[in-house]
Point group: C3
Chain length 339, copies 3
């Protein structure tokens, strides 16, 4: 009598390499999303704070934070890709093609790139390339992610293993050059820090100092804002331990926000080479972050170069005594920085 | 010395049948309200998410959720009607005349329809018809509600009992036909579910699967957003048990949002036939929902029909073993669904 | 190896009287900020709720709450002034020159007015005049505040003591006359209370009735919205007691919001004569407020006068038995009220 009209999501068996999934529920961005991002994450980057500063950088107004776009596109993919995910294993080849603004309507699709059953036969890994598109159908964001997805039935036949080629990083020539962006008139007095690209050295490590203790209401409001409907984030009764797992992207945004201390001029994300959630985060945890400068490169954006960073988020302070089991997140990415 | 400039609200004795109360503090809607609704409730209906989809349905942009309008009009009525309410007993004859948008300014008024003193002489029931109006003075929403209101003085004389006629339901010919709405080009690939009106049968029951554990900060932020100033929702010291009672409308929005799983195409609410809050909800409770299809009807909206649903919210799973004392809400309503 | 690129903030030794600090990260206001203010504080003043009412008062649309502007300008000053503050001691000479609106971009600067080392030699008091400016460089807000700031080194030489002149109040002729504001068509039926300026008497005391129990998520979302990065508000591990100190401005906004009960027509703040945070507030506390009418004055705003109020926020009820150690805040300010 109880009908199954509600979608239970795809299981491992339901994915086929080459499948193109058009995700439903496109999303129009508003200034409300911008304000909520500011209230949820301590990110004080000037380009996303001031319309005037953004215009001086060639943009029509202050864009949304790049990770807001990431989360929205990710959220669109959840019902089709990861409703039955056991773990979100990693990201690669993520490129932010242009900043997005209030008024943009974002849709998303995913191409299944690969799959590999686990030896337990209870689950398998699925690789997808997810793309975010604007109303003109232009790609604004793309990334590869791989997730461990439950099998519907452990006895169903094992599919052929196809593991896609996953480059370690987005090569410098492949970094996006967001149209119109120009840092020739970049005002360091307004950005909050004097450090320009030339002030950073590969190998340098930066402690972002602050810590943020996370609350249930905050991560749920954020995750709903991205229309991510994975139930472990909302339903305290869906895990055996009675705890709500915080959406990994929430930690990503917290970490990126904390980098304002020391990397205030790493303004726009251009690409994410790799990313992994290393342990789960729960309400009450205090999140800290530090970064390593990996590489410096040129950019075709006037007045700017690219900085490659590895940012780590953890429940404990960085340093020689750091307890690695506290590490929550490790992301390797390129950001645009004024020369 | 302490002056009583602050309004303490009407008591049972202060209501007169036929009284028209013009509620203060009209409210202009913004895109900020839209974003906050998305962050507070897991509602992923495409018509309220995408301006492009809304335009393809004949609307100027994505409207606010219909229950956001309901809550704002309800909130306006609180200072005049229910500041001294003991219980919010029920709703009837609720009609959503048109979707509302950022830029609309909403005001509200209530007509006292009836009153009946309780045998205890400590309180009585008051019936009102509350109307929400746009800047042109056109009705955008109306509903009847009845509340149990405390008497100022148990010894004050008993007023004449007048119980208004309260129809069981909004009859099909009385369902609103929101101007301009057109579902002829409705895109099921974008809405998230393939089920159209013809796929539902009276008697069918739909489990909405997900559950949401509720937090204090969330329900207070929501209730303030609707400018509802009933103190039991905000002041932990106003009830003897030290708990803040969650505004019943918060549960209504949670339940309606959960119906996205299985009723994603029940896009706009047209009318609410009946509604009742069956037990109080507190932070920490996990809210679930299921629906019964009651009736299918025609609509003058091109490409659309009306589906009558009964949605139940509860602290426990639906099914034969359901504990009825967990039931929080029972609403019977009409929604617009594509053919 | 761990570089110090992140700003640790100024210590007492770093301030010089006469120094002008231009604060980074200007901020464009949006309708999202307006909605978030409504969701965070129970302020139901009609001028900030309805575009139509605001237009009838000569404004282009509903402005942001005046304290939202205060918090944003204050927040801008934190990285330069009070990152190493031990206590925020007081405010004076605060003037709200004009209401601000979505689309305004606000920047801020501070002039160091004075400094005085404490006898402990571990800290000292710094006085600054902080100014908020619009895109045209016009002052929209200014205030003096003094903070106790830690010394970097107790042994560093004692600087000359310079204590600035700090007037007790903003004199009536110095009250701002916000351009265009006109209360000649002020509609008391829409504002929620009938009390006009002539209904208040110096010496009168008004209990604002309601209480609000405060949550961690709320005060952190508010404080981030103002881009205030003082770590004691966010990091539960930054204080020995493991508690997050609530930003004092959050209490100010709560208190001002509570004054809607009895002072609904004290619409716009014109000036704050004095303000002090008398004890710390933590999540779980229930905040109440009451006000004393201090003085009534004329205003050049058509149809309006100025009311001088002293509003007290406390964890306990006002009255002869009030426990003064519960007092959180005491502010003395001028508001614009219709005649």
């Amino acid at each position: 009598m109880m009908q199954e009209k509600a979608e239970r999501g795809r299981f491992f068996e339901d994915f086929e390499v080459g499948q193109l999934l058009t995700h439903p529920v496109p999303r129009t961005l508003t200034h409300g999303d911008r304000a909520l991002y500011t209230s949820l994450y301590p990110d004080r980057r000037v380009i996303t704070s001031s319309d005037l500063f953004a215009r001086a950088c060639g943009l029509p107004e202050a864009p949304l934070h790049d990770l807001a776009l990431f989360h929205i596109v990710f959220g669109k993919s959840v019902p089709d890709i990861s409703l039955n995910a056991i773990a979100n294993l990693g990201y690669a080849s993520c490129r932010f093609h242009r900043p997005v603004f209030a008024g943009d309507t974002i849709s998303a699709k995913s191409l299944v790139l690969g799959k590999k059953e686990n030896s337990s036969r209870k689950s398998g890994i699925v690789w997808v390339r997810t793309t975010g598109l604007d109303r003109a159908g232009e790609t604004v964001l793309e990334f590869v992610r791989w997730v461990m997805v439950a099998k519907r039935n452990p006895d169903s036949p094992t599919a052929e293993t196809i593991i896609p080629e996953c480059p370690d990083m987005v090569a410098v020539p492949d970094l996006p050059v967001p149209a119109g962006v120009d840092f020739m008139r970049y005002d360091f007095a307004l950005s909050g820090e004097p450090h320009r690209l030339g002030d950073y050295r590969p190998g340098e490590m930066i402690n972002h100092i602050d810590g943020v203790t996370v609350e249930e209401a905050e991560h749920m409001m954020a995750t709903r804002l991205w229309q991510n409907n994975a139930r472990v984030h909302f339903n305290a009764e869906s895990r055996k331990d009675g705890r709500r797992l915080i959406y990994g992207g929430h930690i990503m945004s917290l970490a990126r926000a904390l980098t304002c201390n020391g990397l205030a001029n790493a303004q726009l994300m251009l690409a994410m080479n790799a990313g992994a959630h290393l342990s789960p985060c729960f309400a009450g945890d205090t999140v800290r972050a530090w970064s390593h400068v990996v590489e410096i490169a040129d950019s075709a954006v006037p007045g700017a170069g690219a900085i490659r960073l590895r940012t780590i988020a953890s429940r404990s302070e960085p340093g020689p005594d750091h307890d690695d089991s506290d590490t929550l997140l490790d992301i390797d990415y390129w950001a645009l920085m004024p020369l």
